[in-house]
Point group: C2
Chain length 156, copies 2
């Protein structure tokens, strides 16, 4: 899959440094606390090697990524898919990279026989929301007039 | 831990039938599609035995459950914890069972060295929201005035 002739490809453990740098940039841009790049790289290497995370990257050197988790579903034989992170470096936004990464993510989920794909975001992130909704993703229970679905978290 | 002298206990693979019945009741109550109880029981047995899911139950026979997932975190050495299902049978609501199950869930997460605990819900489920907020769970990014955090899903 390409956008502006830029390929989306699956990451391997050798990409851990690129992934760590992008995740660090992401956290820094949004003023979130972040581990150092070296610590993130070591953890990403371990999680990639163990197939705990699946990462798609765009660009060489990479300027965007999608980070996915698969977990065995309660409701069907395939896994549920969670899009945990989706990031495109600020200078490369608006060129379809996010769309290409999301499309490749859903394709990867389907290829793994997943029937359920989900993500969380913030209501202020209108670009992400527009992208998700353009793929038919829904934020309401039981139809377009249903209640909003909300995400709650606790640091413990 | 007890509420009205009713104990919360961890489920083992032999509890798969109880879990399947409660999940089936949950789906039926909320008019969600649901696999048959036998199919759910077989899948729950497999996922419990593989430590893919962790379930806490209340009552004998059980009338409520919390179903958790642990996944290795990107951000810290312990796992992130996701509360995937929290259910109390209608006839037993209002007696503190949900609170006891959530409290035991957070304790189990802490015992596993988790630093992050999350759940999704619908804005219409005011009982769940009140419970989550009473434990300090937050639905807003970067402080109490921040944007709502939303959950999007896609059946693929």
């Amino acid at each position: 899959m390409t956008t502006e002739s830029v390929t989306v490809r699956p990451a391997g453990p050798d990409d851990a440094g690129h992934i760590a740098r992008l995740l660090h940039d992401f956290n820094t841009e949004y003023s979130e606390p972040t581990p150092p790049v070296d610590e993130l790289a070591a953890r990403c290497h371990e999680l990639l090697a163990a197939n705990e995370i699946h990462v798609l990257m765009i660009g060489e050197p990479p300027f965007g990524l999608a980070l996915l988790r698969f977990r065995p579903s309660l409701w069907s034989n395939g896994p549920d898919t969670h899009l945990e992170e989706l990031y495109v470096a600020p200078a490369r936004r608006g060129g379809g990279a996010g769309r290409a990464l999301l499309e490749a993510s859903i394709e990867l989920a389907r290829a793994n026989r997943s029937e359920h794909f989900d993500v969380t975001t913030a209501e202020a992130d209108t670009a992400a929301i527009g992208l998700y909704e353009s793929f038919g993703m829904v934020n309401r229970e039981r139809g377009p007039e249903g209640p909003l679905m909300l995400y709650y978290e606790l640091e413990i």
